[in-house]
């Protein structure tokens, strides 16, 4: 059973007097119960807008969306949903316990349930000792944990997480990832909205890449990161000309990759294993020594950048200022993804 479904979901901001911005342009998504789903995309891709439509914070201008079988945006659809937004602004005069008590009341929980759930979720996010401390004095990481506790308060079936580990130190990230995994094991559905591809890779089993309001790629992480028929060949010695000549003789294009001193590194493109062995035989026949041969497996970052570039007709995406930077002159493999403070779709 799908807990989240969208069909042709569209959102256009702006109106008759101002310029129009198409944040979503016909998004079709299905997320099944118990899945860990990651929604990726550069700045302005429409990720936050999509989540906000599902939660009733933004009204769609087209298409349909359902959450737990109810039309998205209706109060009843949010009864078993937890939401951890990227930005949160808890009143500083409330203690962590009071924040959770307030949200427990808004969820319709009785006093006993509120007390019990507050203790459980604070324990879960390792914040029990801070129950009676005012939120105003909390660090960003503690506020993040409190937000997670609040999202977990209703013991939700679906958990929406917007940048769940943004601004958290590495140990904190491991801890939060552990909490989310435990909830996943309990059968909860996770919907993670993030730029931190590494985090998504570690947590989610299915992802969708949203670019300029459209889902450009979607599927299980394993299929998106399927190995390329490409290899990275490292040869001993720094005679680049000899290596190039040997590779060309085997029918390769001889694409060099930056290499440390005393070695040359090449990128091979072959159709199958027998062709690869033929290339290696030719290299050995030319008197060159093979240091290392490695199959190149596409990382999520690669898939992500490739998807954005495809959506932008090969030109750097206008939708990704500050988000994505390719850093290699020689290979599209070497890509760095810069994190940023906020995602205002």
């Amino acid at each position: 059973m799908n807990v989240i479904e969208t069909h042709g979901l569209a959102k256009t901001f702006g109106g008759a007097l101002g310029s129009k911005v198409e944040a979503l342009r016909g998004v079709d998504l299905q997320v099944g119960a118990g899945e860990a789903f990651g929604l990726l995309g550069p700045n302005g891709a429409g990720k936050t807008t999509l989540v906000k439509i599902l939660l009733g914070l933004v009204e769609a201008t087209g298409g349909e969306a359902t959450l737990l079988g109810h039309p998205a945006g209706t109060p009843i659809s949010r009864r078993e949903v937890g939401y951890m937004p990227e930005r949160r602004n808890y009143p500083g005069f409330l203690t962590a316990g009071q924040v959770l008590d307030l949200f427990g009341k808004l969820l319709g929980m009785d006093a006993t349930s509120r007390r019990q759930r507050t203790a459980i979720v604070l324990e879960e996010v390792e914040m029990s000792a801070w129950r009676d401390q005012k939120v105003g004095g909390f660090s960003k990481g503690m506020q993040q944990r409190l937000a997670l506790a609040q999202a977990l308060l209703p013991d939700p079936r679906v958990l929406f997480l917007d940048e769940p580990t943004e601004g958290i130190d590495p140990l904190g990230r491991v801890s939060i990832r552990g909490i989310l995994r435990r909830n996943l094991e309990q059968g909860k559905t996770l919907f993670v909205n993030s730029h931190m591809l590494g985090e998504v890779e570690l947590l989610c089993d299915r992802v969708a890449i949203l670019v300029k309001g459209k889902v450009r790629r979607e599927g299980p992480l394993s299929s998106l990161r399927a190995p390329n028929p490409e290899y990275r060949l490292t040869l001993a010695g720094d005679d680049e000309d000899a290596a190039r000549a040997a590779l060309i003789a085997t029918g390769q294009e001889a694409k060099p990759i930056a290499a440390p001193p005393g070695l040359t590194v090449w990128r091979l493109e072959v159709d199958d294993r027998s062709q690869l062995n033929g290339v290696l035989d030719g290299i050995r026949g030319a008197g060159l020594e093979i240091e290392e041969i490695q199959r190149i497996r596409a990382s999520l970052e690669e898939v992500f950048v490739q998807t954005i570039n495809d959506a932008s007709d090969g030109t750097p995406s206008a939708a990704s200022p500050g988000g994505i930077q390719t850093s290699s002159k020689n290979s599209p493999v070497e890509v760095s993804v810069a994190t940023r403070e906020a995602d205002n779709d």
Partner: protein, 298 residues
Amino acid sequence: MTESVGTADMRKLAVTQAMALIGFTVREARNKWTLMALFALTTLFLLGLATVVSVDIVEGGIASARLFGTIPLEIGNTTIPVSDAVTVIQVAIVSVLTTFGLILALFVTGNIVPLTLQTGWVDLLASQPMARTVLITGRALGAVSVVGVTFAYLFGGSWIVLTWKTGFGNAGFLLAGLVILFTFMCCYSVMVLVGVLTRNSPISIIAGMSSWLLGLLAYVLHTYDEWTTAFNAGWQRSLASFIAETMYWVLPKSIELTENATKATRAEAFNWMPFLTSLPFVVVCLALACWWFSRQDY
């Protein structure tokens, strides 16, 4: 059947949520120094009232009155009825509260709606299983509760002190408190609407006060219609008169409500017209605020 059970549950939940928001608003106000200052001032006033008023009553009238128990205020041979003396004091309190008290109340509650709409807070609240109408209504009722509690303390306290000191309990004075609270609600409904539209506390406070002043202006224009003779053309006079009358009937009846507070204190006949004609203004402002808030993207 399932749907109707779900709807009934959601209605019950809406009431619980509104109560939670009222409680939160009161707690929020308690954490503001302005409200605490207001309570401290009220306490000082009540203590002062208890200390200052010292009357000797002979055969149901005030024979002499003392300030701080030491300075005698000789009334002479005239016997002033206790009820008159108490009423005069209470009318003075009501007069001050219908202006300064109202302004203070608007200041104290001015940022409640804009605070609700802060990024990072409105997302958290509006993503709960709660209709936005409940959110805005709960916060507005919370603001009215905050002012109501303050007024209850001031009016109730003054009433107790004066009753204790003079033996005369004037229930009309307590009714006057409710009239002023209603006047506050009229102005506050404008603040809710403007707060939702602009998310700006100063602008919504100014709007709330302006509605009171415009009501006053409309009363003056309605009562003294000679001003229309300043226009030469008949159509100009008709248009001016139409605008003034529209303002008078649409806006809250600031002056008449104030008069009613005084009348209540003096136990004079109550005029219900200002309430009946001001109430639609409150309802329309709140309905517009809810409608606007419900269709906004956050």
